[in-house]
């Protein structure tokens, strides 16, 4: 009997590299005890509830030491990296347009550029949270939104076309995939 795979993946993305085995193992053990007593459905619901409730506290700590310089570097990275990625994506999109000879390119070419961008951003975010802590990343993100994103958004129309919504909804799983990949690589490098 296996616990819900997506809930396990979320847990893997949130847990510090050195602690994933002990956290996931504890949940696995309790899950196996619950299945014969409560049934698979109830045990799955319990696992999901545990995994989701565990994400904020797991993101809030790291077993690595943090310093002021480390904090400043991570804060700067949170603010600068989305801007750099945004500029890089714009440059890639321009290149795609030029490659298509100024005509209409297939939508997937733009989507893949933006989703790759989101995956890289997800990996960077996971790195920043692990290195600097969730509070520092949140403060830096609020700073970023206040200083850059809100003024930029105010310049746009309030209604996003369908393709923009597709980009947004594709970006979220891409970010999660990037964050999970970072955690897996980080975990392997520690073992």
């Amino acid at each position: 009997m296996t616990p819900p795979v997506i809930a396990q993946a979320l847990l893997a993305a949130a847990a510090p590299a050195g602690d994933y085995d002990s956290v996931a193992g504890d949940l696995h053990e309790e899950y196996l005890h619950r299945v014969p007593i409560q049934g698979v459905g109830a045990a799955n619901r319990w696992y999901w509830a545990q995994a989701l409730a565990s994400i904020p506290p797991l993101l809030s700590y790291s077993r690595t030491q943090r310093s002021i310089w480390n904090g400043l570097a991570v804060g700067a990275m949170v603010v600068v990296s989305p801007v750099v990625l945004l500029l890089a994506t714009e440059a890639i999109n321009d290149t795609i347009r030029v490659t298509c000879g100024g005509g209409h390119c297939a939508a997937w070419t733009y989507f893949s550029a933006d989703w790759t961008d989101a995956a890289v951003f997800g990996a960077l975010l996971a790195f920043c949270i692990r290195a600097g802590g969730v509070r520092l990343v949140l403060v830096s993100a609020v700073l970023l939104v206040t200083a850059i994103v809100i003024p930029t958004l105010l310049g746009f129309s309030s209604r996003l076309p369908l393709t923009e919504w597709l980009l947004l909804f594709g970006a979220v799983p891409a970010m999660c995939a990037g964050a999970s990949t970072y955690q897996i690589i980080h975990r392997r490098s520690e073992n």
């Binding site: 296996t2 085995d21 053990e29 309790e30 409730a53 506290p57 809030s60």
Partner: protein
């Protein structure tokens, strides 16, 4: 007592649970011990985050055990309360006793 040496409410519960379990304390049984004693079902992530904080304060120590099949091949992290942890528990109990001394809760209203 320095600020970092005080116990938060959940830290207090986790430290007491580790002490009650004794040898063989690890995340799942600590979580179950707290659930049985309080009726609250804490998230396993919250238990581990608190244990990590207690370890940083020097109140508990931990070590990794062997992976087992019933845990999906994943290893346990075992915990043990250190002398500083016991001292922090004693201090917390004394503080509560001092605050409770001479206080009647029978007719107390909010």
């Amino acid at each position: 007592m320095a600020k970092g040496e005080y116990l938060g409410e959940f830290e207090h519960l986790v430290l007491l649970a580790v002490l009650r379990i004794g040898d063989g304390a690890y995340g799942a049984v600590i979580r179950q011990e707290i659930e049985a004693a309080t009726g609250r079902s804490p998230a396993i992530g919250a238990v581990h985050a608190t244990l990590e904080r207690l370890e940083r304060k020097g109140f508990v120590s931990s070590w990794i055990g062997e992976p087992t099949a019933e845990r999906g091949g994943k290893a346990k992290r075992h915990f043990k309360v250190l002398a500083a942890g016991v001292a922090a528990l004693k201090e917390a109990r004394k503080t509560l006793e001092r605050l409770h001394a001479g206080l009647s809760l029978r007719n107390a209203t909010a």
